[in-house]
Symmetry: C2
Subunit: 328 residues, 2 copies
Amino acid sequence: MKLNEVGEFGLIDLIKEGAVVDPASLVAGIGDDAAAYIPSPGKLELLTTDMLVEKVHFDLTTTSPWQLGYKAVAVNLSDIAAMGGRPRHIIVSLGLPADVAVEFVVNLYNGMKEICREFGVNIVGGDTVASPHGLVINVAVTGEVEPTAIVKRSGAKPGDVVVVTGTLGGSACGLELLSRRGWEDYDFAWPLVMAHLTPRPQVSIGQKLAALGATSADDISDGLASEANELAKASGVRVRLYAEKIPLAPELEQAAQMLGKRALDYALFGGEDYQLVFTIGPERFAGLPQDAGRFTAVGEVTEGEGATLAYQAGKAVKLKPKGYNHFR
Amino acid sequence: MKLNEVGEFGLIDLIKEGAVVDPASLVAGIGDDAAAYIPSPGKLELLTTDMLVEKVHFDLTTTSPWQLGYKAVAVNLSDIAAMGGRPRHIIVSLGLPADVAVEFVVNLYNGMKEICREFGVNIVGGDTVASPHGLVINVAVTGEVEPTAIVKRSGAKPGDVVVVTGTLGGSACGLELLSRRGWEDYDFAWPLVMAHLTPRPQVSIGQKLAALGATSADDISDGLASEANELAKASGVRVRLYAEKIPLAPELEQAAQMLGKRALDYALFGGEDYQLVFTIGPERFAGLPQDAGRFTAVGEVTEGEGATLAYQAGKAVKLKPKGYNHFR
């Protein structure tokens, strides 16, 4: 069935089902002029948004609508995670080509509903409009955080340890694999491609870090080099990274070899890992849970500016913020 | 200067200036992963969003970037107004063609900043991405409202008076005039065209109505016929409108005559007036300020369903919700 057969209001009726997983605080949702909810007393409200544009952020020949819906929400929750917050409500704007099938939109919403269910997030409204050239998805998310726990980009202090969660580089390599025929034949390619298509936002880790006193944080959407420079700029410090310490996705080395690239470059300049990079005082870093692979110290904060990268055998060099930049 | 010369981060620095007009409640804004603010104690939070797509919602040959920025915010504030709320913060996602000039984006933001200043709203963040085919603007806005004052679509009761603010039909007629050459030569065309390009959201009137006990409300974005049907559906009632009572924009009759159309049709089926239609008990309606042209009773709520339109000399007919529907 085509969208113009059910119409805008018919579509709204279709997507309402299962949109609310935490009704307690919700006073008005889908179908009113605006959503209304009761904010948690004493908490700060968080608000962020991300726009995904067809052919720029995704390619419908390599992602399913379900995966796309999942990811469109994931990248937003990741921003809330980087503030140490708990995501609460999303609103979704869709710009849809006239010939899009109703089933496509329903599957897109099913992916969104899946991740929202996982994280206890309500879909509370949105806007659905026509788009003459390709699909556009905009998600805005609210969250909440204790005023004493909020983690901004600007709090890094000389002496802090620079830490990343999980492993890096997998998503960018997965994207490159997706653009090649036959990647499905390689077992090592699958986790990399999945890391790209359905990244998991580090929401509970972000909240833990906030409670443990992280001084600054960023989610790794544009590559570690770019994020390290952002933390340095916002905090007025230098971020020094050590190449050998950066934790790479387990399958990355093998895939990079096949692609004729350097594995570390995916981690530094690739982006879309949606892990967190944060800074924290050294005594507090010692208090972090030492589960293997969860947190890795990759450098330190010093006086100065910008980010540098050092190899074990060699001098530190300036690390340019040449991650993903939409207009360069 | 082109956008790819300043880059994504250079652009963010350009638009930061003047983005915050009410810093008291703001803890983090543009430049962090998410905005953070202190919600007002005891209030409900409101959240809504609207997406504007080039060639669907606007045409850059007939609107300036400043006007477009103003309107992109206005249509969102209008949704907050329809809930009886006070708008507080917006986040802005822009999908920009690669060849767009920096000056264009700055002017777009200047229009947004102007209306935000007027209404005491902060621009607290957003996302700026590339768009291969035309400009896309998504604004999401938060607001707040007293829990006892919130006006939903679902509260209309038989016996209520149906009321509209201001005058209707001007915007849709202005849009049609814009598509014709030489409209600038007609004095009566100007206010209609301006009503289309830079509509004013009825924020303070919406708050007053909420305080005075409006039982339901909607902003008139898709034409009065569509909104009347929405209120009827959400409230489980019938909305009866009287054709002769619907207040038309002063210049509309003259313009409609020139265009060979019926003036009333613009009000019923045109849309984008961003006035409010609301319902209120008859005794409370009598208490509304009786400034000429501010509130007009256009009908009543009865048992039943759907919306009807009656002429003085004639039987009421079913009023189809055939306002602007993106997919029909």
